[in-house]
Structure formats: structure tokens, C-alpha cells
């Protein structure tokens, strides 16, 4: 379960490309395909080992989002983790 203290990182098995706001992720091992919208894509791009708290503050600033976006960001990150698109590190 991803929390504010988690430090998610992108899995190295994922291929990515972005065109006109649509980010496509391909899991090279499972063969599954995913698409993310602009916010989801930005969350994904910030998964470089920084804490979720830092990811959240970046998203809030960039999208001028309300504080309630925290639950949305955590939900996105947990979905990314459950699909093994990001790997959790404590």
C-alpha cells in the first residue's frame, strides 16, 4: 500500500510514449497496455524515488489543485503499483 512516505520508482520493464496528452505504457513482461491522462502521466513521470508527499506538492502546484487531490494521487499511485508499473520503496 502506497502512503505519503513511500518512494515509488518506475519499473524498468515499462516502455512509454506520449502524444498529445495521452501517455501510453507497455509492460514488456506482462504484455499489458495502459493509457494515462495528463495528471496520471505527470504522477508517473515524478516516480523517480522521491516521496509521495513531494509528488503531491508538485501536482498541487502544477495543476493548481485543491488539497483533496491527495486521495486521487494516492489512488493513481496504488493502481500503478498494483499493475507493477511502479515499484515501492520505503
Amino acid at each position: 500500500m502506497i502512503s505519503l512516505a513511500s518512494r515509488p520508482r518506475k519499473s524498468l520493464d515499462i516502455l512509454t510514449q506520449e502524444v498529445s496528452g495521452t501517455l501510453v505504457l507497455l509492460n514488456r513482461i506482462s504484455g499489458e497496455y495502459y493509457t494515462l491522462n495528463e495528471v496520471g502521466g505527470r504522477v508517473w513521470s515524478l516516480c523517480d524515488g522521491r516521496s509521495v508527499a513531494k509528488i503531491l506538492s508538485e501536482i498541487q502546484a502544477e495543476f493548481d489543485a485543491p488539497e483533496s487531490i491527495e486521495s486521487d494521487v494516492l489512488e493513481i499511485l496504488n493502481e500503478l503499483a498494483s499493475e507493477k508499473l511502479v515499484l515501492e520503496s520505503a
Binding site: 524498468l12 510514449q17 506520449e18 502524444v19 498529445s20 495521452t22 501510453v24 507497455l26 514488456r28 493509457t35
Partner: protein, 329 residues
């Protein structure tokens, strides 16, 4: 005793040398027919070597225990890849087994002796094309399952799997004087000056129902058919005097769907390039990481630099060339 092996040489787009050896004359002929525009004199050095051998029921396929992860499945088998060894395996039931070693530029195919006629089309088509895609990908060419035609050197791509209307579109546009790059596969070649489409001017595979829409082709039963195929093979240059172009610049991508209901009119609708990327992503065979990413990058470059549409194909085939001319401007 081994059957005599025949070797033929080809040169793809003037730079990739290909040698194909087969111990079955019908199979050698089917492959040569597909590659007829690339025929070349023999060469000492080849870039890619394909070997096809018939085998008895009792012979075992070497190293078949762990074939790796599945990267593509089809009704009669699968394509698997082993990351550790950089090897791709393909099978068609237990009648055909293919080992592709991209690092060595080599593909070996073994066919059960008693099943050659049943699988001849599969061996000469998908089980040849998929390893060719993988070998060419290592040299920076990225395959796409699409028909490609051209008008004034602007290429229109019709991506899609079998049955989506690619061949009907190809014939309709050829009849109207468009140039031909390929009916089923094309290759993307990223260059500093932009993306090029390399054509693969294969035969066009037609159902007998499709043949009936084009009276100039004659009776379906008079057209050749490779054993194991339910379709007839047509060479576009024979019927339409089509100009086969080796390459061109992409201008338009139209994703076709055939409207089943009679009397419906064909129509084009704009499509978001991001959506086009999602539709084309399954063309990426998920084998070696760097080339798989390169493949996805090339597809993204294609959709960024092309106008993307959905094309509903109705009963009014004759309007399609006009529609395409209008949208090309």
C-alpha cells in the same frame, strides 16, 4: 536422406541481404513470390539467413524446455521470447517450430514432413514475417501491420488486422491510379530528415467474396492459392499495372472498419493522434527492451507527423479514392 535444399537471395530496399534456403520447392516458390520485387544475385555475405527444413515425426526440437515468456498468441500457437538468450520461438501446433536468433541474424524453421501442405501458407506468411520483423528491428526498421498506398509521394496507411478491409481499400485505390507500397505490412524508418515508410509489395491476399467485387480480377477460382490458405493471391502489378514504390513520406493514417449493413456510405472522421498511438501500440513486439522502445518511438513519430482518421468503409467503394484525394488536399 536429406531433401535437396534450394537457396535464393534477395536484397531488401537495396541494403539488407537475405538468403532463404528451403528443402521444399512449393515453400521456396511461395516465399520467392512474396519477395519477387527484391530478387537479387547470390552473395557471399548475407545479413539475414532463413532456413526451412522438413523433419520426420520422430525428430526432436532442440532446447525446447523453457521457451521464455509469451509475447504473442494466435489460435494455433504462440510467439515466445527468452531475454537471457535473446531468442524468439514460434510454433504452429506441434507441426512447425521456428527459432529466431536476432543476434546471429538467423531463423531456422522445422516443419513436420506430413503437414507441409497444410501449413505452407502459415510458414511462408506469418511464421516468416514475424521473425523478419524482429531481425529488421535490430537494424532500425520497425514493422507495422498496415496497407500502404501513395498519391504524389504522400503515403496513406491503413492499419489493422486481417478482415478490417485493408485489401479492399488497396484494390479500390490501385484501380484509381494510386501507387502501391504494400497490402499488409510496411516498415517505419526513422531518419534525421524525418520518418520514411518502406514498402513491402507483397501479393494481396483476397477472400473469394472480395474478388467478386472486382470483376477485372476474373473468376476467383482461376486465381492462384497457396496451399493452406483460404485466400487467393493477386499481384497488383499484373492487374492494375500498379507502380510499386519502395518508399515514401507518411501523410495520412486511416483506421478502417467495414460497415456490414448494406447501403451505408463511407465516411472519414478525425482522430486524436494519442488515440492513434494507442491503436498502433500492439504492433510493438515486446522482446528486447531497447528495440521495443525504439519501435514505440517510431510509431509515436508516425502519428505526430500524419493526419489521423477513422474510416468507415461502406458499400460505395468507388467514392473512396475521391475521399482520400480530398483529405490529402
Amino acid at each position: 536422406m536429406r531433401n535437396p535444399v534450394q537457396t535464393r537471395h534477395f536484397k531488401l530496399w537495396g541494403f539488407f541481404r537475405l538468403a532463404i534456403s528451403a528443402d521444399h520447392s512449393g515453400l521456396a516458390a511461395a516465399l520467392a513470390s512474396r519477395l519477387r520485387r527484391f530478387t537479387s544475385a547470390g552473395a557471399e555475405d548475407v545479413d539475414f539467413r532463413f532456413e526451412f527444413h522438413r523433419t520426420s515425426e520422430a525428430e526432436q526440437w532442440a532446447g525446447q524446455r523453457n521457451l521464455g515468456r509469451v509475447v504473442l498468441e494466435h489460435p494455433h500457437g504462440a510467439v515466445t521470447y527468452r531475454d537471457e538468450e535473446d531468442r524468439m520461438h514460434l510454433n504452429f501446433r506441434d507441426w512447425v517450430k521456428v527459432l529466431c536468433e536476432p543476434g546471429l541474424g538467423r531463423t531456422r524453421t522445422m516443419i513436420r514432413h506430413s503437414k507441409v501442405d497444410t501449413v505452407l501458407w502459415h510458414v511462408s506468411h506469418p511464421l516468416f514475417t514475424i521473425p523478419l520483423f524482429e531481425l529488421l528491428r535490430r537494424s532500425g526498421l520497425f514493422g507495422l501491420h498496415a496497407a500502404s498506398l501513395s498519391l504524389d509521394d504522400r503515403v496513406i496507411l491503413f492499419p489493422g488486422s486481417s478482415g478490417c478491409g485493408k485489401s479492399t481499400l488497396s484494390l479500390t485505390l490501385l484501380r484509381a491510379g494510386f501507387d502501391f507500397l504494400g497490402d499488409d505490412i510496411a516498415f517505419l524508418k526513422p531518419e534525421d530528415s524525418g520518418l520514411q515508410i518502406l514498402g513491402f509489395p507483397d501479393e494481396i491476399n483476397l477472400t473469394e467474396e472480395t474478388v467478386d467485387f472486382f470483376p477485372e480480377l476474373g473468376r476467383a477460382s482461376d486465381l492462384p492459392r497457396v496451399p493452406g490458405s483460404s485466400k487467393r493471391q493477386v499481384r497488383p502489378e499484373t492487374f492494375y499495372g500498379a507502380r510499386c514504390l519502395p518508399k515514401g513520406r507518411p501523410a495520412l493514417i486511416a483506421f478502417p472498419t467495414v460497415l456490414k449493413k448494406k447501403g451505408r456510405r463511407s465516411r472519414l472522421a478525425r482522430m486524436d493522434p494519442g488515440e492513434a498511438l494507442v491503436e498502433l501500440a500492439p504492433n510493438v513486439l515486446l522482446t528486447e527492451a531497447r528495440r521495443s522502445q525504439g519501435h514505440l518511438d517510431a510509431i509515436a513519430q508516425l502519428v505526430r507527423h500524419s493526419d489521423c482518421y477513422r474510416l468507415e468503409v461502406g458499400s460505395d467503394f468507388d467514392r473512396l479514392p475521391m475521399l482520400m484525394r480530398e483529405v490529402l488536399g
